[in-house]
Point group: C2
Chain length 124, copies 2
């Protein structure tokens, strides 16, 4: 079996709450980090929630990156879903840790879309 995508689930704790509070700032941090990690940005949406928190999505040619922030908990949850080895997920994770001022990041990795290897060859 082969996976069609790799998915990294990240939780950032102990962040700088001010960096999680406004969609414009979160957008700048995430989009820049994606580009540094060789991601090709197709489009993005960042949205402020009331009373606080940001949801953001970056659609990339390699799949997507999402973020949800809880400034009141100094916490952010990030997903990196990629169908290409071109995207440097580790660099992206670590850049975000630095940029969000996080004291801790937890990482869970999953394979997505398991198909028979033969089917992949047939589709080429």
């Amino acid at each position: 079996m082969k996976a069609l995508g790799e998915h990294m689930l990240l939780e950032y704790y102990g962040c700088d709450a001010l960096k999680l509070a406004h969609s414009d700032e979160v957008k700048e941090i995430v989009v820049n980090a994606v580009r540094q990690a060789n991601g090709t940005v197709v489009t993005n949406i960042f949205h402020n929630f009331s009373p606080h928190g940001v949801s953001g999505v970056v659609v990339i040619a390699e799949s997507h990156v999402t973020i949800h922030t809880w400034p009141e908990h100094a916490c952010a949850a990030v997903d990196i879903f990629s169908c290409s080895a071109r995207l440097d997920k580790i660099l992206l994770r670590d850049t975000l840790k630095e940029q969000l001022g996080a004291s801790e990041v937890t990482t869970r990795n999953f394979q997505r879309g398991l198909v028979r290897a033969a089917a992949l060859v047939d589709a080429k």
Copy 2:
């Protein structure tokens, strides 16, 4: 510890490949399914890839739903990330299974953003 969000990772197999091929059709299926499941749609992006496949994101007040399709494998990977019990994730999962004509769906559930329960009380 309390979770700030619940995340369901879904893989749909044996789908109707024609339903996975065009962003307009995938968008209609996903957005309608989100609404049926009590999701409040904030905005959405659906994107066709070359030579085939669709990536789509629905930002909802409850967090997000994403889809990536591989028509050549009759496969779709869906994420339902929710911070509210209002969104009926099971109904959403099952509606998509029917609408995509999938023969099988696999489900993995994860908690996101684990914080101390006391911190949640403080933030109210």
